[in-house]
Amino acid sequence: MSPRRRVATDYPVDDGGPLLEVEDLTTAFRTPRGRLVAVDGVSLTLQPGTTLGVVGESGSGKTVLSRSIMRLLPQKGTETGGRVVFRGRELTPLSRKELRQIWGAEMAMIFQDPMTSLNPTMKLGRQITESLRYHLDMSRNEAREHAVALLRSVGIPTPERRLGEYPHQLSGGLRQRVTIAIALACGPRLLFADEPTTALDVTVQAQILDLLAAQQRERSMTMVLVTHDLSVVAGRTDEIAVMYAGRIVERAPTKVLFSKMKMPYTEALLASLPRADRPSHTPLKVIPGRPPDLVDPPKGCRFAPRCSYAQDKCLAEDPPLREASPGHVYACWFPVGTPAGRGALTANGRAAGAAPADPTLARSSP
C-alpha cells in the first residue's frame, strides 16, 4: 500500500482564501413520482476555521446538502449540478477513487444516530485504526496509540479498554464521542456534523456540542453544523444559513441573524422555540402547514403558503437572494422589520381578523 499522506501538490497553496466554495449546487433524484430536486441552486463560502450552521425543517434538504458537498451520493438516479471547490481544488469532476482520498482524510462527517453509525460487529479500536492505517499509512502499533490518544481527547475514560469493546457496550453519549473520534482521526480540514445531538439525551447534547467546539479550536478545523434546532446553533456558530425546500432562504453571521432576521421563515423558526422566560403552558407557536412537494414545487416563493406575511406577489414570483448588509442575504418580498413587511403583516391580520404576530418575540436573542 503506497503512502497516502496528504500530498501538498494536490492542492493549490493555502493562500488565505476560502476553504470551501459552493456554487449553484443542485441535487436531484429520479423517483417513481418524478424528478425530486432536494438541493436547488445553493451557493455558499466557508472561511477556514469558522463554523457554519445549516438550519431547516425535515425535508428542507439540509442533509442532502452536506452529502452533496461531500459528493457522498448514490450514483444511480442522482443528478448533480454546480461546482464545489475545496481548498482551491474542484471536487465535481473527481472520480470515486479520487474522492476516497479526500473522504476521511480531508473531509469527514458525523451522523445523527450513534446507535446505527457504528458497526455493531466490529471492535471500536478497529473502526478507528482502520482509517489511520489506510489514509496515514500507520503501523498497527502506531495506529493503536493514536487511537487511544484520540479517545482520550474526546473525553472517553479508560480508552485502552474501549479499543477492544463493541458499540453496544457504551452509552449513547459515549458512542457519539467515538464517532467524533473516528471522524477526526485523520485530521480532516472540514467536518460535517449532521444532527449530531438529535438522538441524544438533552443532558448529553451540550457536552457533545462543547466537545465539537473544543476539537475544532484545537485542530483549527472548519465545521458545518446541520440541525433543525436553532438553539443548537445559537452560540456555537459564526454564520447561519437557513434552508427551506432545497434553497437557502437566508444567510447571515449568527448575531445578525438573530437580531436582524429578514425572512419570515427564520422569524417563525425562532418563534417556535420553547422559551424558559415565558409563563408555563404558553402554547408553542408551530408553523402551520407542511413543506412543499419537491417533485412539483409551487410557483413563487416556496414558503408563501405557510407565511403570515404572504401577499399575492409572493405566490406568483420567486424572490431572489438579496443582500441586506455585507454577509447577510435573504430572499423575501416583504421582509421582517421593514415597512413593506409590517404592512403585509397587518394586511393579512385584517384579512384574517386575527391579531398581528407579536413583534417582540423576534427581537430578543435566545
Binding site: 476516497r100 473522504w103 446505527t116 455493531p120 460487529t121 469493546e165 457496550q169
Partner: protein
C-alpha cells in the same frame, strides 16, 4: 455467558431424551408380533425368541426404553436382520461417504451463494439480481429426485462428462472420488444454494442500507474492504441460523442423492433397509439423524454470540 451455555445444555439433554424416546416408539408401530416382524421372513423361532429377549419386549415401556437408551449410549443399536451386522458398525462404515457428500455440497453452495449474494445485493433489481433470484426460486422448486436425474441426463447420458454412478473412497483415489462426486454434490448443493443465496442477498441489502456502511464510505474506505470487512459479518448472522434449520433438508437430500447415484453412504443404507424392512437399521438411522440435527442446531445457537457480539451478554455501560 457460561451460565447461558449450561442452561442450553440442559435443554439439549431434555430434547435429546424426548427425541430418542419418540424414535424408540417407532418400533411399537409395527403391526403384529414385533419380534417376528423384526426377525423378518427368514426368522426362525430361535432368532425370534432371541430378539424378544434382547429387546425386552415383555417388559413395560419405560424399562424397555431406558434399556434401549443405555444400549444406544454404548453404541449398540442392534443388528441388521439382513446382514446380521451390528447397526452401529454399518453406520460407521458408511458415514464418511455421507459426510463427504454433505461437506462438498456445502462448500459448493457457499462458494456460489456468497459472491452471488453480495453481487446481487450491490445492485438490487439489476439484471444479475433478477437472474440469480429467479434461478434460485426455480431451483428451490426442484426436488432432489428430479434434479438428480436431470443432471444425469445432461451430463452423464448425453455429454458423458461425469458418471451416473460409482464411488471410490477418497483415500484410495482422491481424484476419481472427486470426479464421481461432482454430480451428487451439485444435486445436493442446489437446495442449500438457493436458500443461502436468498438469505444472504436479503441480509446484505439490509446491511448495506445501514448508517455504518455510509460512515465507512465517508471514511474513504475502498468498496472491497467495506463489503468483506464491514458488511459481510452482520449479514452472516442470519445465515448461520438458516443453515442450521436447513440441516434437516440436507440429510433428506443427501439420502436421496446417495440413492440416485448409488453411493455407499448412510442414506442408501436407509433406503435399502426400508425396501427390505430391516427395522432395526431404520430405527438406528432415524435416531442418529435426529440426534445429529438437534446437536447441530444447538451448536448453531451457541455459535451465534461468537458472530454477533451484541449477544454476548456482558454489558458495561460507560
Amino acid at each position: 455467558m457460561a451460565l447461558m451455555i449450561l442452561r442450553r445444555l440442559g435443554q439439549l439433554v431434555g430434547v435429546l431424551l424426548v427425541v430418542t424416546f419418540v424414535s424408540y416408539l417407532l418400533l411399537n408401530f409395527l403391526p403384529g408380533n414385533t419380534a417376528a416382524v423384526i426377525a423378518g421372513p427368514y426368522g426362525t423361532k430361535a432368532s425370534i425368541a432371541h430378539i424378544s429377549a434382547q429387546l425386552h419386549l415383555n417388559d413395560p415401556l419405560p424399562v424397555r426404553y431406558f434399556d434401549w437408551l443405555r444400549q444406544l449410549l454404548q453404541g449398540n443399536l442392534g443388528q441388521s436382520a439382513f446382514t446380521h451386522q451390528p447397526v452401529g458398525q454399518a453406520l460407521a462404515q458408511r458415514l464418511p461417504c455421507t459426510l463427504e457428500l454433505i461437506l462438498l455440497s456445502q462448500l459448493i453452495a457457499l462458494a456460489v451463494a456468497v459472491p452471488l449474494g453480495i453481487a446481487a445485493a450491490l445492485r438490487p433489481g439489476g439484471w444479475l439480481d433478477n437472474v440469480a433470484s429467479t434461478t434460485a426460486f426455480g431451483l428451490l422448486s426442484m426436488p432432489a429426485y428430479v434434479l438428480g436425474y436431470v443432471l444425469v441426463i445432461i451430463f452423464a447420458v448425453n455429454l458423458h462428462l461425469f458418471p451416473a454412478t460409482g464411488y471410490v473412497p477418497f483415500n484410495q483415489a482422491p481424484l476419481t472420488n472427486l470426479h464421481d462426486m461432482v454430480l451428487p454434490s451439485i444435486t445436493l448443493a442446489v437446495g442449500s444454494l438457493a436458500v443461502y443465496l436468498r438469505v444472504l442477498r436479503a441480509e446484505m441489502i439490509a446491511t448495506l442500507s445501514e448508517d455504518y456502511i455510509t460512515m465507512a464510505v465517508a471514511k474513504g474506505m475502498p468498496t472491497w474492504r467495506i463489503l468483506t470487512r464491514h458488511a459481510l459479518r452482520p449479514s452472516t448472522i442470519a445465515l448461520v441460523t438458516v443453515a442450521a434449520l436447513n440441516v434437516g433438508a440436507l440429510f433428506v437430500g443427501a439420502f436421496l442423492a446417495e440413492y440416485i447415484f448409488q453411493l455407499p453412504g448412510v442414506g442408501s443404507l436407509f433406503i435399502q433397509s426400508i425396501e427390505s424392512k430391516d427395522y432395526l437399521v431404520i430405527q438406528g438411522i432415524v435416531v442418529v439423524v435426529a440426534v445429529a440435527y438437534v446437536v447441530l442446531n444447538f451448536l448453531a445457537d451457541v455459535a451465534q454470540p461468537l458472530i454477533d457480539p451484541r449477544l454476548r451478554g456482558v454489558r458495561r455501560l460507560g
